[in-house]
Symmetry: C2
């Protein structure tokens, strides 16, 4: 204990400040209490270093826990000064040092090379990162001999494996690559081998081009900060990204990392946070679970780091409130103090934002529109008109999801995977991920001729992207977004324009969806919506089927039961109850159109799919406009047997006209109506003037769109 502390991410003064929060009700105090309870419970199980198991199996899980608790116990030793934590950290590290080289490599299962502890070295990188951090917290407490044992038996063999044996994997611009460089650099810092820090920062060649952290953070993110695989993978990469940034900030201050490349670190953290729904859950863009949220360990690190180095506002504090914890580090301490000092009630609504994609920001974008209801609830619309997302990409350009009243309303299916559920194919991606979850029809979008966008060709899809048309997200009453998607189905151009419109007579903003398709020849257009809950009423006749067959044979249709169908009307209405809210969808249609009620789960021999309902509005046309409104209304609470406003206000939706210049529709409520005019002209600006005449009525407006409430 006479030696100075050599922790990679802590200085003595910071430790003192954090220790001062022990037992307090601050975010840091609560974080420490949880950390102590959790660590003590695991330490009671003793030290165990198992051999191999498959992913999700016992040994796999135990190794994951072991690195986590090496890190946690190490930190708690610094904060509490209790020897038992140092002892436990040392015992685990020494046990690994004894066993590591006695373990063979796993069998190679996928493209990711195997490690000695885990089936893929990605996990082994994480092990090195956390065990190095834990080691650095107790290094001064260990004897020189113990230090050498751990280095020789564990750390050096791992470093050799990552930078020599698997050299090809170390220099890679990929989210996994950040784990590799962060792990090697942390270890280099923890055992005083600066050469590993250098190669991690600048790449094996030292040129900042082919590999290394600086190259990665320069190339992985769009100028907006968006990560093309979506928030689910972004939040996984953000953890090593932030840990490494904090380490560089402390140990290579000359790099001024937090201002590097136009503050790319702050930008990409903020972009990730800005995708989240108001309840903190990330929208399932591309392959993703439906429940990953800002309480993920990486996001906790990222939010604390952002707060310390880039500033704190109500949006950040609102997320800290959801997390109810902070990173146990000086960054977290800064956020905790700010949270304590804040006296105003938090009712944050993150600004609407369009996040561009591609290295130059010119490969489409992802839109996140947010608007507060009169009572303060936040509605969020997510629309994808960016890139495909590589191997994890879904074929859902122009697809949307929508959230309000604390729940996702127009729903993403998420990935076809039961993550870490070992009996479900080892927790890995299932066949149904390809055959259903990634297909166009599984999304809230239009599927053409019962096929998938880009014919489910990943390479073709990766070569394309959506085209932003307009984005207007500042207004509190009307916001809008529009984009094109050309030739994703051969010969078919698509434009989707969405508006959120607030009115004092409405419980929540209505969502207006103008989905325009044009083609030289006729196609079958399936406008699909995925909802949850129970159908309450419709305004048209339909037949539920006495026997169920699938909607088709391929492109995801083979997984959808055709539950019932009927002819559409002039305005077709379907209303449903989800949780405590009623929703009514209205669409301008005709008797030529058909409504099909669907349910997922057909051709699912292992019950890998969830059984979920959906709607399809089917139309045969060359050029057409699907004009839809979604109204949120009423309240239902079965437990107290309360129900109000089970029928919405809006009764009709009419297309007045649509052409290359613009689309005009009328939304009719009981005693008022809303005219919505949207520009379809490529290159429209907020100065552009549009003038159209439909049925002898003239409509003129300036800018992207106009909304006129009558009555």
């Amino acid at each position: 204990m006479s030696q100075a502390i050599k922790a990679v991410l802590f200085e003595q003064s910071e430790i003192t400040s954090i220790a001062n929060e022990l037992g307090k009700d601050s975010l840091m105090g609560k974080s420490l209490t949880k950390l102590i309870e959790d660590t003590d419970a695991f330490m009671a199980l003793g030290v165990e270093v198992p051999g191999h198991s498959e992913a999700g199996g016992y040994a796999h899980n135990r190794h994951k826990q072991n690195y986590q608790y090496i890190n946690q116990a190490g930190r708690l030793f610094l904060v509490t000064g209790e020897d038992k934590y140092a002892q436990y950290t040392a015992d685990l590290l020494l046990a690994y040092a004894d066993k590591y080289l006695k373990l063979d490599y796993h069998e190679q299962l996928n493209t990711n090379p195997p490690g000695r502890l885990f089936h893929q070295i990605l996990n082994e990188h994480v092990f090195l990162l956390y065990s190095s951090l834990g080691y650095s917290c107790i290094r001064h407490w260990l004897s020189a001999e113990q230090q050498q044992t751990i280095i020789d038996g564990l750390f050096q063999p791992m470093l050799d494996m990552f930078t020599d044996k698997y050299e090809f994997d170390f220099d890679r611009i990929h989210n996994h690559g950040i784990w590799a460089v962060a792990a090697v650099a942390m270890c280099g810092l923890a055992i005083d081998k600066p050469e590993y820090v250098e190669m991690s920062i600048h790449g094996l060649k030292g040129d900042d081009i082919e590999g290394g952290y600086l190259a990665q953070i320069s190339k992985l993110f769009a100028p907006s900060g968006y990560y093309m695989e979506g928030p689910y993978y972004h939040r996984y990469a953000i953890r090593p990204l932030c840990l490494f940034a904090e380490a560089i900030h402390r140990h290579r201050p000359e790099l001024d990392i937090f201002n590097f490349n136009g503050q790319v670190i702050g930008k990409t953290v903020k972009a990730m946070l800005a995708t989240a729904y108001p309840n903190g859950v990330f929208p399932a863009l591309n392959d993703a679970s439906l429940t990953m949220d800002i309480c993920d360990a990486g996001v906790i690190v990222a939010l604390s780091l952002y707060a310390k180095h880039y500033g704190i506002d109500d949006d950040i504090l609102g997320m800290a409130q959801i997390q109810d914890t902070v990173w146990v580090n000086a960054c977290g301490q800064a956020l905790s103090s700010a949270f304590d000092n804040n006296e105003a009630a938090l009712n944050p609504c993150w600004a609407s934002v369009e996040l561009n994609e591609g290295p130059n920001g010119d490969r489409g974008a992802q839109a996140f529109l947010r608007m507060q209801s009169n009572k303060g609830d936040v509605s969020q619309l997510v629309m994808n008109y960016g890139q495909h997302g590589m191997g994890h990409g879904h074929f859902d350009t122009l697809g949307v999801s929508f959230f309000n009243n604390g729940q996702e309303v127009l729903r993403e299916y998420g990935f076809g995977r039961w993550v870490n559920v070992e009996p479900k194919f080892g927790g890995r991606y299932l066949d149904e991920n390809k055959s259903y979850a990634r297909q166009t029809i599984a999304h809230n979008a239009v599927a053409v001729d019962q096929k998938c966008q880009n014919n489910f060709d990943v390479k073709l899809a990766d070569s394309r992207h959506g085209e932003p048309h307009f984005f207007s997200g500042d207004d509190k009453e009307i916001q809008g977004v529009s984009a094109f998607c050309r030739d994703f189905y051969e010969g078919v151009d698509q434009q989707r324009s969405l508006l959120m419109i607030n009115d004092e007579r409405l419980a929540q903003p209505i969502l207006v969806d103008l989905y325009r398709l044009t083609s030289e020849v006729a196609h079958q257009y399936d406008y699909a919506l995925h909802y949850d809950g129970q159908i309450v009423r419709t305004n048209f006749d339909y037949q539920t089927h006495a026997e169920l067959s699938t909607l088709g044979d391929d492109f995801g249709y083979q997984h959808l039961w055709n539950v019932g169908q009927g002819k559409a009307k002039d305005t077709t209405l379907v209303s449903w109850l989800q949780g405590s809210s009623y929703y009514t969808w209205l669409t301008a249609s005709s008797e030529e159109d058909e409504v099909i009620f669907t349910r997922s789960g057909a051709n699912d021999p292992s019950f890998n799919l969830r059984s979920e309902p959906g709607l399809v509005l089917r139309r045969n046309a060359k050029d057409t406009l699907f004009a839809n409104v979604l109204e949120t209304h009423g309240y239902f609470n079965e437990a107290i047997e309360a129900s109000t406003e089970a029928r919405g206000q809006i009764t009709e939706v009419k297309v007045i006209g649509t052409n290359e210049q613009g689309s005009v529709i009328e939304i009719i409520a009981k005693d008022y109506s809303i005219i919505v005019m949207v520009s379809n002209q490529v290159g429209v600006t907020d100065e552009s003037k549009t003038s159209v005449t439909f049925n002898n009525q003239d409509f003129q407006w300036q800018g992207y769109f106009a909304v006129e409430v009558r009555g």
Copy 2:
């Protein structure tokens, strides 16, 4: 304000004591805060007395709110002394006095006669009860003229309607009847007309036989306190029952109402509370919603009343903790004080209880077994072997439901009704309630020859009941219940025995289910289980169907899709994931048996049914024993991507033998096995000795059952 307070349920000293809690963090303090916020919000809407609407419609809801706020505002006037509450109460009452007689009667829609405000006088009774209580709180504040206006325009016409025009409905031994007498009595007390109090207590004839409160509480409940329609209707009747009891206690102390008839009031309150799941939700016995819980207004009154007049223990405090509120009354004040004074951590597990049915307690029973896991979680088994439950009865004798880890695992479907959802048939019972929800196959029971118990004949079913065999609910490691049900299917006798067995090696008690059927001739036996969540694995081959058809044409089978099926094995295993828990069901079977995966929702033209999964084990036999084990294991959390013990410990279930004396089965886990022996002898006592020989093995035990763990 110079007049003395004449409130039916308050004395001045009680008001002072309650007012003392204003702004405090006690249960009473929190209750007052909520009451004030809620009442102020409604008062801001102003005074509005509308006309007619259908049930669940606007006027209906507004009248309901109006009586509620007359009562709340009246009470708040007493507690806070603020005139605005008296004024609001008076304004509403005077508005009704002005309008009531100008409103025509509703059209008669069902057997319940219509009122002037509501479509059925049941609601009008509730109106009178609450408006009388509210009136009594401000009576001393009103001028004599105002008092007379309210009496002449509102109260007297209602009293006349209930006791004269609808006299036939007033003297009725029925749960609705309690509302009638309580309302009339409260009004009699509030306006000083003791004749109405007398007829309410003793019936129109004054004989305590044909009608009146004393006759009702003597006849409506079994000696155990159980109410035959189940907790959903019990909790609705308990509100006027308790309000009236408290009023009698105060105004007719000579009746010693809380000791009346062997403390029937305390007994029936306790019986109702004892049915609740550990999370406070009531099991859906007979027609019932799945979410009705102890936070219902009536149960809040009942728990507070019980606490004051019958005593307080950890079970009562545990429920108060779930309610997080008390009745704003001297009873609630007593409970709130006790809760404040309690310093021990609450981890209540209500005692297991068998609640007998019928006026003499000899018409079967309902069993509620509860056992705590090693970590303290409460498992609860509910088994029905009582009466049919009249018009709201389900044909599910020997049916069970099972709860642990905070969720219902073997699930009740509940009623076929979207209560108060006006577009769903006015919120009333739907056709599917008869055609599906009340049928045997919709329950966790055996359906014979694809038919319903008692052929869905209510009259026949009401004439019968289950027969208790044994009940043993005191032990912390092993509990059991068994009952017979004879000839509910012609020529078929059924016995179901269930045990919960705890072992230190198990995460939760296992549920052992021995379902024995005997008949002279062969039948098709469908052992049905209704679960929730996702199938994780099975141990047998099955085929999901490419096209779906129904399981049958009648008796609920027409509403079940046959999703897939396969031949059973010696031990058939199906494992699923619900929320964060894994469940594995194992059954002793053979290749002659078939497993069918089902889903509800077929032949459902208006989407009235929920889409829910189920399992059927189908066997053709004369005499047979379904021997099943349900193991609860592991943990899953998608948001943090954690999964442990996705496979359970138990691998096999074997029937060693079964006959008229007893059944013996073996449950085999990885490194131990459990022999379960159950007596089938009618009249078994805990002294009885049973001796059976199967396959040359002798088994002997004393009492109802025996469990032997080997290894």
